[in-house]
Symmetry: C2
Subunit: 151 residues, 2 copies
């Protein structure tokens, strides 16, 4: 069951079509290891000057589909204090859940997963009789490199 199978099956199941554009975007997303924003993906796909032309709306629409079928996950890496929203899409297929440390200086993010924290979150939710769908834990600060490069 490859990522492509998952996508194709999802589309079929939803009565949607597997188009050239969707295939191109899927392949590009899978190939890229680092997190990319929709705008970056759009720019790069445009620069490629493929025989196929891909519009901004199609990039956004396809990333939404990839999220719906479990291949991608949208994450906002903005600091929550300034206007800037930094939306990136991560690989989700065969990539276990994790949260992020986000450097306020260089913008880099670092992944971590901590089962104890996850368990405590469940407890908190249970205490509020709250049914959890998902969560986001973001720790903002300064990465090792940005601390040494003192300002």
């Amino acid at each position: 069951m490859t990522e492509k199978d998952i996508f194709v099956d999802y589309l079929k199941q939803q009565g949607l079509k597997f188009t050239k554009q969707r295939e191109e975007i899927l392949n590009f997303f899978l190939k890229e290891e680092k997190h990319l924003s929709p705008e970056e993906m759009f720019d790069i796909l445009r620069k490629k000057r493929l025989p196929l032309k891909i519009g901004r709306a199609t990039v956004y629409r396809t990333l939404k589909l990839l999220s719906e079928c479990g291949l991608a996950e949208k994450v906002d890496f903005g600091d929550g204090l300034n206007r800037k929203v930094i939306t990136l899409f991560e690989h989700k297929f065969a990539h276990p859940h994790h949260d992020h440390l986000i450097c306020l200086s260089c913008g880099k993010s670092f992944e971590f997963s901590n089962p104890e924290i996850e368990k405590l979150q469940e407890n908190v939710a249970r205490g509020h009789q709250f049914k959890v769908a998902y969560h986001r834990l973001k720790i903002y600060g300064y990465c090792k490199k940005c601390q040494s490069t003192k300002k």
Copy 2:
């Protein structure tokens, strides 16, 4: 040391001025117990038809000042998946740190604080030699009421 003192002192220390508008916005913010968005605050302050006219930019600028001096805290209650950004300002003065459970159905939020989670976060950061500035833990799902009102 009242909230007003804190604000006035902060302004003075920064070489800024304590204006009618800033005082009006401070009072309104302090009076309101529930979280409000800047746009809501702007609308309400406008409807008041005070002798004093307050512009949108001044509301945003003043909320930023209130955040800088520790009286307010900006929090994004959007679900991180849809476009909508829901920026609210919480009281921070004499309100201990907490995180939120956010209902995807009714939009209500529920506060919690869990020292164990906080401690584990410190451990995670230390493990990455990461210097923490602040964090945001948001647990999305369905509140008790919205579970019973079974859609």
